[in-house]
Symmetry: D2
Subunit: 126 residues, 4 copies
């Protein structure tokens, strides 16, 4: 049992900016898409750079074809990007990157902060 | 802008055991329910012990009444519990606790580990 | 044992910006001071807003008086601040805030990024 | 600046079980050693499996030779292990693993929980 607990610790945590939880709705992301993004982040952290819809959907309550469709939408809306390149051994690879998600989140966050600031200033002037 | 970045840092992160992401499906939790649980965890961490369906649903793509219904289900299925008591000043309070979620998650995790172990042993015997 | 594992999960994690680990040295913070800051962050997260040197040093390999001295230095150098006020019941309280730490860290981070950017630009011009 | 904030988000967080902060002292780890362990964890997370004493000490307030000595002690005390093997291309590699740290931490945690439980039982019997 001790051993199971060590495995749990090694499994570790997934940690996301609280801002993602606060602003995904404003970013036009729904709950299914948010959870899919969390799965992609988790796969990337564990060294799987290009998880298949089958791998992802096996952890979700949606079908593989629904997962494929959601992934396609997230790429189309610019939250996930596919990078490709060649490895040291000359083998072509594809991998997901979620840098665009963080860019959009930071933009949304700053827009929001500025709106709050403006509102505050207007109150102070009255 | 500097100031906005400091606020971002203070907003902090929400961190969950990776096991929750791996096993929520097996625990009969769907994606809407998972995200609602994340919101409850986030409210608790920020000192709001009893967020209302209005507060929670304002961050989600579901309506307040759908949120009320989901909360009811999560309590009924035993993932969230409502604790009540009296504060030092004698005022009655209610608050959510997610201890039952962690209990069920640990159970699910151990079941899964044992199943894997058994499977492994059977392979070794062949 | 199951129960011990649930307690472990509830104990949770302490999560800090990786930048703090990368830049504390440049911020003139040493390892003893960094760990003391982590303890203060951890106490704050658990609802103890003003841990005593005795409480903090009981978790460290330093004496209570050394801990008092380190706390004093961290306040003097502007990484920790003591806020005071009056509670709803009119009782005076003191509490630590680490907002100044995040301000200094963000400043250090941005200085560093700008320096890297400038260096990059100069390379590109050559 | 926006861009700097995105980089900050991508830098991410380092997250450790709170239990490590509570029990490192009982595990005979001092603050310098704890911080060195955090650096090793951070390097591993970022894909550098075998950081050199020069790389590690550049982020610490200790010299490279002190860092070498601390690493040696942490290996000797059984908190870090060096794994070696051969890559797909037949190149020999060495890498650090901190699995032993988590094993010792779980042991310490369970010892502590059992001691508390025993103490509680004795109180109840009186």
């Amino acid at each position: 049992m001790n051993e199971n607990m060590v495995k749990w610790v090694q499994e570790g945590n997934i940690s996301i900016p609280r801002a993602l939880l606060l602003y995904y709705k404003d970013m036009n992301i729904n709950e299914n898409e948010l959870v899919l993004l969390l799965h992609v982040i988790s796969f990337l952290e564990k060294g799987n750079d290009f998880p298949t819809p089958t791998e992802i959907s096996s952890r979700m309550t949606i079908s593989t074809s629904q997962c494929t469709e959601l992934l396609r939408k997230l790429i189309q809306k610019g939250f996930i990007k596919i990078d490709d390149g060649y490895s040291n051994e000359g083998i072509r690879f594809e991998k997901y990157t979620i840098e665009p998600l963080w860019q959009k989140l930071v933009n949304e966050y700053l827009l929001n902060q500025n709106a709050q600031q403006k509102e505050q200033n207007e109150k102070n002037e009255m």
